[in-house]
Subunit: 319 residues, 2 copies
């Protein structure tokens, strides 16, 4: 599958912080050409500015400037603009740092000039010295809506303003039926040696990417090995509401539950050592299972983990 002397072409599908850290680990591996396809269904307009939370989290993480505690935003960023907006009576329910505002002002200015999100993202990556190919899943507008108690809520309202307190009865990706994959997405998948489903929320991070027209079938058709990493460890999400969301939507909030959701696009599933007992049931779905220490710390640890995942593929997959 991989010829000697050529780089291994890896495509990663990623959402927020967990996905960004996995992508960062893959980017640190030697001999790898990495493309990251990023969820954009969380994108929204805030205070007149186009915000792409997942793209920015991946961008900042790969650039080595992400806030190490939050995972999102920029390390050491100040908040004078946000404080100023507060002084002007604006409800500052969403935190943006001063340096981060530059990204949003830049993106908004260029989008208003008719430039596609994918082109802007490539320029942002370039400016921050990120050589990984960062691909929004689509250049078209898609907006995740959370259905809770019979009402539809904007995703960021649910995620940030309500701190994910609403019970998620349903999820809808508004605009998805008209969304075409961004330039390079289908080709990266078709030409990949490995497709990695990062440990991102399977419903609202991986779900939208797979729902973009042509993406799921491209992943099913690619000769690449397809490996997923469970974002659920011991029945809990490390970060975010994936566990509660899985439960309220009728799935099992375990690595097995995630594997069931993604079984049609996976060959291999990586689970945490704490979930080793689930391996037989996941294997019974027809997937190879790899058991690893999946919690990632700093960049060195992310590279360690990514290396173990890729090495395990070489050992387990015979096609």
């Amino acid at each position: 599958m991989v010829e000697a002397g050529t780089n291994r072409r890896i495509v990663a599908l990623a959402g927020g912080v967990g996905g960004a850290r996995m992508a960062d680990g893959l980017a640190g591996l030697p001999g790898v050409d990495l493309s990251v396809i990023v969820n954009t269904a969380d994108d929204f307009v805030l205070w007149g500015l186009d915000i792409s939370p997942d793209l920015d989290t991946v961008l900042y993480t790969l650039a080595g400037i992400a806030d190490p505690v939050n995972g999102w935003g920029i390390a050491g960023d100040t908040h004078a603009t946000l404080a100023g907006l507060g002084e002007l009576g604006v409800d500052t329910w969403f935190s943006l740092g001063d340096r981060d505002f530059a990204t949003h002002i830049f993106r908004t200015m260029r989008r208003r000039a008719g430039i596609a999100l994918s082109a802007i993202t490539a320029d942002l990556a370039d400016a921050l010295g990120v050589s990984t190919s960062l691909l929004p899943m689509t250049d078209d507008p898609v907006a995740t809506r959370i259905i809770s108690a019979g009402q539809e809520i904007e995703f960021q309202e649910y995620f940030v303003a309500h701190r994910q307190a609403d019970v998620v009865d349903g999820v809808r990706f508004a605009g998805i039926e008209l969304a075409e994959p961004a330039p390079g997405v289908l080709r990266a998948i078709a030409e990949a040696d490995v497709v990695v489903f990062c440990p991102s929320n399977p419903i609202v991070s991986i779900g939208p990417i797979l729902s973009v027209h042509g993406v799921r079938s491209a992943i099913r058709a690619t000769p690449a090995v397809k490996v997923g990493v469970s974002p659920i460890i011991g029945g809990k999400a490390l970060k975010g509401p994936a566990d509660r969301m899985l439960t309220s939507l009728g799935h099992e909030a375990t690595a097995l539950g995630v594997a069931r959701l993604l079984v049609d696009v996976l060959d291999v599933f990586v689970i945490d050592e704490r979930d080793a007992d689930l391996a037989p049931q996941i294997e019974a779905l027809g997937l190879e299972v790899v058991v690893l220490e999946t919690i990632m710390g700093d960049r060195a640890d992310r590279v360690r983990f990514a290396g173990e995942v890729i090495a395990a593929l070489m050992g387990t997959v015979r096609r």
Copy 2:
């Protein structure tokens, strides 16, 4: 003209830093209801944001937060967003601080929502605790263009990017023929006891205000005493290019030259002690002349000067 027990109604016409400081002095006088009509022909869109340099300079000065050295921007402001834009490859030829960005983001967001500049300005003043009525000259778009060597240059390009190095052969206010006075402008002038022409550039700060449809005739028709303060002292502008601009446009770069430009809308002209020898010639134009120390320092000194101007009116004008 002013009845005992009622506030004196003062309307000030202002452009940039000098105008803002005079307005600040007037605002500090006891028993005064102040309205400031501010030039908006310098307004422009920068990085997708609506910037109103003169309105902001007056706003920040009246709020007591203006940078004391520059006169524009906010004291102690940081520049992380600007640095971020620079990192992203944006030409950061125009300096905006982080706290200042909040003003521009707020204004842009509200204008995109269809709210008039005058209403947004009132809200900004309110949020910053400014009780003076701040009135943009118009809610309609007007843009000063500088004509130099046969070419038309955007005002901020001339003023900031070129540091006023171009020889000004002409000035044009694009859009002025369609600009209506903002709500409250004509009424404030009609009901004023005193109209003050602040020491702002007569060509590009006072000029656009007088050119808005109906403003010049309202000033000529008001029963108010109309007093101008020369922005030129000893043949030099304290700040900005007014002196060179007057010369290149064929005027005299003196208090007399400014008086000639404004003679049809003035009753009284205040000149600096250094220009006392010009008094006879200015009086020959039909104006009363008041000679004062016109250079203003801190807020106390601005109030001192404003008080002297108003007191002088009571002494000189008999109508």
